[in-house]
Structure formats: C-alpha cells, structure tokens
C-alpha cells in the first residue's frame, strides 16, 4: 500500500510541487528562527566562552558580561592567594564613549584580555594580524560595524576618538558583534585599560584557572563571602548572560516567540497541504476502503504521504536555510546551523508533519466506503 500512496502523491506534479513548497518554506522558517535564536544566545555569551577559564570573578550584583564594574588590583591578589587558584587573567569589558567623525556621541564596548600562550580574542580576523594590536592604542573592529563607527570601508589606519583618546584601527574582525548594540573594540590589555580609563592592574573581571575542578565550590564560597565580589563558574556566567538577553530584552523574547510561531505557521501550512491532498484522494481512499482496506492501512496511506513530504520538504528547507545563512552572514546576521539546531529543527518538522496529518487521518477514518457509489 505504501507504493500506491507514494505513486498517488507523485502523480500530480503541480500539487506535489505546491505541497513541497509549503513544507520547505515552513521548514526554512523554522530552522532560520531557531538558528537565529541559538546564534543570538551564543553570540551574547561568546566573549565569556572564548575567554574561557574555570571561574569568573566580578563585582557583586553583576548580572551580565556587558555590564561589569571595575575591580581593584587588590581583589586580584585576594583571588590569586587562594590555594587552588593556578592562574588569573584580567579581562577588560567596558563601555566607553566614542566621538564620531561628524561629531555625534555614541558608545563602544572595549574588550581586552591578558594573554595566555596564544591570543584568544578577537577570534576571527579578516584584515590585520594579532601582532598589529600590540602597538599602543591599536584596536580591531568588526567589518559590519564600520558604518556605525563612522569609518570608511578601508578602515585600517584610521583613528577613532574613544573617551577623549585616539585609537587606531589596526585589524578587522568578522561576525563578532555585541548584543548591547555597542560595537566591540578589541585591544591588547594595556590599550584596553587606557581607552576604558582604567588604572594599571584594574579590570572588570578576573578569570581564574583552577588546579582541580574539585575545589571549585570552595573557591566560589570564599569569593562570595567577600562583601563586594561575586563569582560564577564560566558556563554559569555564560548562561546568566544568555538569560539576561533572552528574558531581559524584548529581542530575545521576540525571537523565541517567532521560533514557536513559525512552528505553528509551519504546522498549519503542512496541515492544509496534507488535508487538501487527502481530500483530493478521498475517492481513491473510499475505493480502497470498499475493497477491504483496514483503517490502519488507510492511515498508513496518509502517513506515507506525510513522511515523504516531511523528508523531501525538510531537505529542501535545510538547503534553503544553509543558503540563507551564507547570504545573511555577509550582512553580519548570524544563523547557527549546528547539529543541535539541525536535530531540533528536524524533530520539529517531523512533529509538525505528524500533528498536521491528524486532521487528514481523522478525515480518512471518516471516509464512507459507500461514497464509492456516489
């Protein structure tokens, strides 16, 4: 019976094309929304995950990486003196004012991290080299932020006025953008401190490497006992930042809503498509029923058609999503198409097709075999 169901579906190329378009577009919508949402989450916490470390130490009350307060050099000493702490790096992540060439005032986010063996941030450079940032007040900016920063397309060597000081663009990054709407300016730690108006030895965060994961709880407890400090495991702080942007800003909520809404819209499109196909084949289904097909066989007839639409439409949708991801990344819009996103989207497409086939199955089960005589 499966081959009959598939042959029936393939027979009318026009309707098949319309059905596949519906499923493919619904799947694309779904993957794009989920991909945007996941990219949103990972981008919002990318600075934390790229800098890494075992624990992050910050001013008490800090909820999100973008809103850190300045810590004194003394707090670093307190951290370094704990027995399990192997190494400590300072991280400057600070908002500063910027005067555009036209005179307008805007904000930027300065990022600088003390190095380990190799430079970790910025992690994607399309022009310039990490060594170019070593000279004083040299910064890397994202190629998609040039317009916002009032810089020309050939920006290397141009100056930007940051907090009354002049920084020189020495490198360009790609796709490293802040959700705080303030362009990132990456610099060596010394330059970052100067541009952010910090004294030598100050930072917004201390990132610690521990000798053993077993002592993480002890270290956190000791740091939290201090009245003006807070500390979190790196992944916890990343999660806090993601949640801050998802639940604390309308943008995250809107994306989540769009992802769920696209699932519903997709389900409706597929349901309508399947239902109209089932209706088209009602006479054939009634004939099968008259010939003695069981309800199970009739349901499998519809299920096979739904499965084929889900599979082929899903593959087309995935290809479209990949093409859109490449296209949009050139505009600085990120769509994460990782395996979990693929798996989530694929499960959602299958669930969508299963749910969407319910009205068709109900209709099939209600088909009157006596219809064959009408």
């Amino acid at each position: 019976m499966h081959d009959v169901a598939l042959q029936s579906l393939l027979h009318d190329r026009g309707k098949l094309l319309a059905a596949l378009s519906g499923v493919a577009l619904a799947a694309t919508l779904l993957w794009v929304q989920v991909g945007l949402f996941v990219a949103f989450l990972s981008t919002s916490s990318a600075i934390i995950t790229r800098i890494g470390g075992d624990i992050w130490v910050m001013a008490r009350g800090t909820e999100v990486v973008d809103n850190g307060e300045t810590l004194s050099a003394g707090s670093r000493s307190a951290l370094s003196s704990l027995p399990c702490v192997k190494a400590v790096r300072g991280a400057v992540i600070a908002v500063s004012t910027m005067r555009k060439p036209g005179g307008a005032l805007d904000f930027v986010q300065i990022v600088g991290v003390e190095r380990q063996q190799r430079p970790l941030v910025p992690w994607v450079m399309v022009q310039g080299l990490p060594v170019d940032l070593q000279a004083p007040d040299r910064v890397a900016v994202d190629e998609h932020d040039l317009k916002k920063l009032g810089l020309p397309e050939v920006a290397i060597g141009h100056g930007i006025e940051i907090g009354g000081k002049t920084a020189i663009v020495a490198a360009l990054t790609r796709g490293i953008r802040s959700f705080a709407l303030y362009p990132y300016l990456f610099a060596e730690i010394g330059s970052a401190r100067r541009l952010a108006g910090l004294d030598e030895g100050q930072a917004q965060y201390w990132v610690a490497e521990l000798a053993s994961p077993a002592c993480t709880g002890d270290v956190l407890a000791k740091l939290r006992a201090q009245p003006d400090l807070d500390a979190h495991r790196t992944h916890e702080f990343a999660r806090m930042t993601e949640q801050y942007w998802v639940f604390g800003s309308g943008a995250g909520g809107a994306l989540a809503f769009c992802a769920v809404f696209s699932l519903l819209v997709g389900a409706v499109i597929v349901a309508q498509t399947l239902f109209s196909i089932t209706k088209e084949h009602e006479k054939e289904l009634a004939t099968l029923k008259a010939m003695g097909a069981t309800p199970r066989e009739l349901v499998s007839f519809v299920a096979w058609q739904a499965s084929l639409l889900a599979l082929v439409g899903g593959v087309i949708g995935l290809s479209l999503t990949a093409a859109l991801r490449d296209l949009l990344s050139r505009e600085g819009i990120q769509i994460a198409l990782t395996f979990p996103v693929f798996a989530l989207g694929a499960s959602a497409v299958v669930t969508m097709c299963v749910l969407a086939s319910v009205p068709s199955v109900r209709r099939v089960l209600r088909v009157e075999a006596a219809e064959v005589f009408r």
Binding site: V4, Q7, A290, M291, G292, T294, A370, V372, F373
Partner: protein
C-alpha cells in the same frame, strides 16, 4: 441447490433523525445464490444503491440482518466486515474508480494484492487478467490514456482479481457505448460460476438478456422479481 452468498432479511434503512428522518429501505428480503447474474433495477431514488451498500457491508442497516458469504456482517465490527469484503467481494463502479497514478497493470495488481498475493505474483496474475479482457497491449497505460470501455474492462479485471464469490457492479455500463457495454456484460456473465455470483445495479434494459434474474425496486421495497432473460 447453489450456495447462498447473500442473505438479507427484514432490512430497514433510515437516514437522519426526528422530523428529518427519511426511510430509504423498508422490509427488504433478498437472497443471492452462486451461479446467478442478477440485475437490480428500478427508478432513481428507489433505494438500489443503499441496498447494495448494505449487502456489501459498506453501510449498516437500521434494522434487520445481512449475511455475506456466511458471515453475519450486520453484527460484525467495521474491521471484521472489511476482512469479509476483502476476501469475498469485488466492485465495479460507474465511474471506474481506477487509481489515476497507477498503470492498468498496477490497478489490476492492486486487486490481487488486496487478496493477499505478494506484489510480484500480483503483477504476473494481473498481466494474465488484462490479456483475458483484451488489454494486454495497454497494460502500462495510465487510466487517463484509456477509452471509457477500456477503463471499465480494467475495472472488471480488478474486481475479478483473486476470484471473489460476489462481484457487485454499480451502473457499470452507464458511461459506455453499446458495444463496450455488451462487452463488459459478456465478461461478467462468463465469470459467473457454480461458486460465484454477479449483482449489477442498472437502469439499462439492454442488459436484461445477460441476467439469470431481475429484481425490481421502487420506493424502498422490492416490487418485483423475475427469472430468466439470460442470453
């Protein structure tokens, strides 16, 4: 005496409820025996199609009993009735009801597959069946590429697939010209054996010479019955 294939006793059928209730069949008694080609005639609205639907297990009677090939189908659940129908009944429809996506061969093979033959064997038997109805050359044609007469011969081959005891034709010749109609009736008549029967619902008096028996209906009752008339 030949085997009793269909036994209908005291069957009533009503549609709707309350003031909107319509009585379509009243007190029907009918027996179909193997070895007979029976015509069921009568004006439109006399209840022919409803009666055929009930005796084939496609509709349930409001009251009364129906037995099909020994199975009390008015008492069985839907799945059980489907199994009885699948095993014992073949259908021919006025509008052929062929699967447009399937070739003539696959349409006939579907009849064999429904009766339990594996796909390969079903295709072999279908090819033989199409040759018997003179359509060997058209086996790979889709229904849309066949004439009305050819479509109905494919439908006949499908209905006869696997040798069902009862073949029911609902106006099988209504859409056909006289030569095609007579061709279909000859095919049906030839398939009537000591084990099987054919019931044809029709308005068409041209078919009477092919019948062993003619049953007439009017206003939801059986109003007449006569033997003979077979060519």
């Amino acid at each position: 005496m030949s085997a009793e294939l269909v036994r209908v006793r005291g069957v009533d059928k009503r549609f709707g409820t309350g003031a909107g209730e319509v009585s379509v069949l009243r007190g029907i008694d009918l027996t179909l025996r193997a070895g007979e080609l029976t015509l069921l005639m009568g004006p439109s609205g006399s209840g022919k199609t409803t009666l055929v639907s009930i005796l084939a297990g496609l509709l349930r009677p409001s009251s009364g009993q129906v037995a099909l090939c020994g199975a009390p189908i008015s008492e069985l659940d839907e799945a059980a009735v489907s199994r009885v129908r699948r095993k014992h009944v073949g259908f021919i429809f006025q509008t052929y009801n062929l699967f447009p996506a399937l070739s003539a061969l696959d349409n006939v093979a579907l009849g064999y597959r429904m009766r339990g033959l594996p796909p390969k064997a079903a295709k072999l038997r279908a090819a033989e069946a199409l040759a018997e109805v003179g359509l060997a050359e058209r086996a790979q044609y889709l229904p849309a590429k066949l004439s009305s007469g050819q479509k109905q011969r494919v439908a006949v081959a499908r209905a006869l697939a696997g040798g069902p005891e009862l073949v029911i034709g609902d106006e099988p010749t209504a859409a056909l010209d006289t030569p095609s109609a007579m061709g279909v009736m000859r095919l049906l008549r030839e398939r009537v054996t000591e084990r099987s029967a054919v019931l044809v619902v029709t308005h068409d008096p041209r078919l009477e010479p092919y019948a062993h028996r003619t049953v007439t209906m009017s206003d939801g009752t059986i109003s007449g019955e006569r033997q003979g008339g077979a060519a």
